[in-house]
Structures are given as structure tokens and as C-alpha cells.
Amino acid sequence: MVINDFVAAMQAKDHRALAACFAEECRLVDYCPSQVKRPNAFLYGRNAIEMFYHNKFMFGGFTMHDPRVVNERTVNFYADYHGTLIHALAQIENCTDGTCDRDGSLIQELVVRPA
């Protein structure tokens, strides 16, 4: 399932593998950074996701700790923004196969929110 690929890429801090989980036309929104007085992230497109997380993974801007996959759309984890932890949920809102449980399915929309 794509949720497992997403979690594996996040934990490996592999920006290319992370981008590969997404459809070319996609959206990733992270509403957690404002909890630590940083700007929330609004990313549109696979390349933007790859570039953004390349930067964040390199400079400590984002780390996923202790992920617990809840179902094919949701993972519960601790998001680390430059050393400050936020208990978060990443939710796949849309994916290319509609159900997000088939091989080859790609994320079209993913939202990260405080848990």
C-alpha cells in the first residue's frame, strides 16, 4: 500500500522515494508547523514535494518518529520540526485508485494535521 511506501520514505529521509508516492498533479498540506511558530506547508506537484523535503530532510526541518499505520489512508506519528515534536496524523484524502489499497496507487492529496 502507498501509505507504507510513504512512511518508509519519510523514515529513510529519502526525498525521491517520497515524491514517487505521489501523482504528478498532487497536493500536500501540513498544518502542524504553525504549532511551533513556523509556516505551514502547502505543496502542489510531485517535483515541489521532492525539492521541499530534500531541503527539510537535510537541514532537520522534518523527521517522522514512531509511525503507526492506522489504515490504508492514515498514519499516526510524531512530527519533529527542528527538534520540536508534534503528535500528528497524515491522512490521504485522495489517491489514483480511489481506495489507496492497491499496488501502484499514487497519492493525489495528503493532509498532515495535529492529532
Binding site: 509556516p39 506547508a41 517535483n47 525539492m51 531541503n55
Partner: protein
């Protein structure tokens, strides 16, 4: 054609900007430590005074543009040089030619950096530069600071420089002199060809969207064209702007900062 004065035009962005301006038929005067039309060390008060005196003698009827581009990156040079050249070498040269710019309704452009938007600058240092602006006192304060943290001071001077532009531009604009900043991303230079692996990895993690899939470095011509435009009369409506010339890096990392 206009008279364009540019500092630090013996290499890099400055040299390419001078080349672009000369190709457009302008008279270009390079003020640099080495190889300039006017040789001066803009990191010192004496050097700045001698350069300003030379300009006033050569162009008593005024100049069309001042481009304050001279600067150094952090890492290997003393912190004092970063502060004196990047901030005071720009602001004092700009102030010093204001009368010449006023005579011809000219413009002033300073070279900042897109690092100002990446959280590296120290706001206390930027505050001292903008609010206190006492060069001797600030230099005394940083005399024992390790050059290894130079990148922080680099970002701080460039942040202060951009804020100085924002603060001064309304008054200058009201007197017929436009004042703007360009904020380039990482630019290809002789130095970037010889980076250590860890330096290269860090550089590559500051993506340049318009160079996606390539080495994330701006070419000097990309920045030079922007400076040449914003300094020109074609940009007559642009004043007080910090123009990011980074292929979209700032938009990628700070999309919510619309204003």
C-alpha cells in the same frame, strides 16, 4: 546612455552585470579591491571615502545608477569583514552617492541574498546593524567570534541590508531616487566547482525549481539580467522591493509569505 557605478564587478555576479550593462551601451565604473576602474577597499571607512571622492570628482553632474554588489560569503573570512563589506560597504556607498543619483533621477540597487528567508539570520545582529549602525562598536563586539559561524553573520548582514532598503526607499523615492534589493540564490562561481562533499550536499538541498534535475545553482547571467533591469529606467515604478532571483527557492520554502 547612462552612467552605472557598480561595486565588486571584477568577478561573479558583478562582472556579469557590468558586461550586460556595457553591451547595452552604458558607461560602467567598477569599484573593486582588485582590477577595478577605481581601486578601493570598501570594507574600510578610508576606502569608502576615497571611492566616493573619486566618483564625485569624475561625475560632478551625477550618475544614473549605483549597484552595491561587493560582498563576501561566510566560512573562511573574519566576521568583521562580512559586517564591514556586506553591510557598511553597501549602505555607506549608497548614502555617499545619493546626491549624484538625485541629480539624474537615478536608482540604487543592493545585492542581498535569498538566505534572508531561510531562518539563518540572527535578528539581534541585524537589529544592531539597522538600528545602531555603529560600525566600530559592532566590530568590537564580534572580534572574537569564530569565522566558522560566518554563514550566520552573512545572512544577518544580507537581512539587514534588505531591511535597510525597505526603510529608506520611501524617502529616497520621494526625492526621485529608487532603492531596491535583489536577493539571489546560490550562484555558480569558481568556488562552487571545488566544494567539499558535505558542502555540495548542503548546496544541493537548497533546490532551485527552475533548475530541477540539474545542479541547483543560478547562473550569473540570470542575476545580472535582473539587476540590469531593476536598475534601469524601465523599472521606474519599482521602489522598495526585495526581488528574489533564485528560480523559485523562496516560493518553494516560504509559499505563505505573500507579503
Amino acid at each position: 546612455m547612462g552612467i552605472y557605478v557598480i561595486t565588486g564587478a571584477s568577478s561573479g555576479i558583478g562582472a556579469k552585470t557590468a558586461e550586460v550593462l556595457r553591451e547595452r551601451g552604458h558607461e560602467v565604473v567598477n569599484i573593486d579591491l582588485n582590477g577595478g576602474d577605481i581601486t578601493a577597499n570598501l570594507a574600510t571607512k578610508e576606502g569608502r571615502a576615497s571611492a566616493l571622492a573619486a566618483l564625485h570628482k569624475r561625475y560632478p553632474d551625477g550618475i544614473d545608477a549605483m549597484i552595491c554588489n561587493a560582498g563576501v560569503s561566510g566560512g573562511k573570512v573574519p566576521i568583521s569583514l562580512i559586517i564591514s563589506l556586506n553591510y557598511f560597504g553597501a549602505t555607506e556607498m549608497a548614502r555617499g552617492v545619493f546626491d549624484l543619483l538625485e541629480k539624474r533621477g537615478g536608482s540604487c540597487t543592493v545585492t542581498s541574498s535569498n538566505s534572508i528567508a531561510q531562518g539563518a539570520a540572527r535578528m539581534d545582529v541585524a537589529g544592531m546593524l539597522n538600528n545602531q549602525a555603529d560600525e566600530d562598536r559592532i566590530l568590537a563586539l564580534v572580534k572574537d567570534v569564530d569565522p566558522a559561524v560566518g554563514h550566520v553573520y552573512y545572512a544577518s548582514t544580507k537581512y539587514a541590508l534588505a531591511r535597510w532598503v525597505r526603510r529608506m526607499s520611501p524617502e529616497w523615492g520621494s526625492r526621485g531616487v529608487r532603492l531596491n534589493a535583489v536577493a539571489p540564490g546560490n550562484v555558480r562561481t569558481a568556488m562552487t566547482a571545488n566544494m567539499l562533499p558535505e558542502q555540495r550536499a548542503a548546496m544541493e538541498a537548497i533546490p532551485v525549481p527552475t533548475h530541477f534535475g540539474e545542479e541547483p545553482l543560478m547562473e550569473p547571467i540570470e542575476v545580472a539580467n535582473a539587476i540590469a533591469f531593476i536598475a534601469s529606467p524601465e523599472a521606474c515604478g519599482i521602489n522598495g522591493v526585495v526581488l528574489f532571483v533564485d528560480g523559485g527557492t523562496d516560493a518553494l520554502l516560504n509559499s505563505e509569505k505573500v507579503y
